[in-house]
Subunit: 151 residues, 2 copies
């Protein structure tokens, strides 16, 4: 896959990731490590909760989305370096869900002090197999120009 530098990006440009399956075992393993709340760990407790069934930690969905972006969903030559952004989880991720990520460049703000870099705003939406958005991340990413020849 062609890796992109700042010069290759434009507002409105879109990207699509591969897919990944959110296995029940990995949902429980992630939760046990990072978000050990009953509705992420135990079917009966989850059923009685506002989730009405087992749901992945939002941070698991965020991390799985990052993996899809790193694995070609957002092919930036210098990698994906986020300064921050806005996140939302409009729906839970469920065991067995297949996620994919659609991304779009919303803004490109060249640095005033560093002419070889810019802050690029990218909106990434993780969708399940029913095309329901389960996670939206509008990120500010640090993106670099192509290095000069010989550098």
């Amino acid at each position: 896959m062609e890796k992109l530098y700042l010069e290759d990006l434009r507002i409105g440009q879109r990207f699509a990731s591969a897919t990944c399956v959110m296995e029940e075992s990995s949902i429980k393993a992630f939760a046990a490590e990072s978000d050990p709340q009953p509705f992420h760990l135990d079917e009966a407790a989850a059923k009685a909760s506002l989730f009405r069934g087992l749901a992945a930690s939002g941070w698991h969905t965020a991390s799985a989305t990052m993996r899809l972006l790193v694995d070609g969903g957002l092919p930036f030559a210098n990698g994906l370096v986020g300064l921050g952004g806005e996140i939302a989880w409009p729906k839970p991720t469920r065991p067995g869900d297949t996620l994919r990520v659609e991304s779009e460049i919303l803004e490109i703000a060249p640095s005033r002090s560093k002419p070889n870099q810019a802050i690029v705003t990218v909106k990434s939406i993780a969708l399940n197999q029913n095309a329901d958005p389960v996670y939206v991340f509008t990120a500010k990413l640090l993106v670099f120009k192509r290095p000069a020849p010989g550098v």
Copy 2:
């Protein structure tokens, strides 16, 4: 620890978490699973990158912060259910860093349609051992009132 319901919360209320150490092995393990970029996995590559040394994935810092919040850093009786929010990573998390989280309630917005719940805005700042903020999460959390007796 006393678990808090909506009636127990007020704007300006503050909370402090326990601490956790971000071990190099767990930084690499998290990155291998969720964010396999060279600057999170390999010292030499990290040294040559803009991080100038191994740095944890921002999602690892976010997940470790969540664990500190779940483990008593934000003792809400119905758990921590986030709708979304704003995130920022002002500095990298480094191997061996000890993190703790300070949280403050910024806003309480009662639901119009559901009298027993509100959206509570909580700003959580993860600080390293030098008191440098490494991660800021301003979250919208769903919080519930104490159940009526007998319910």
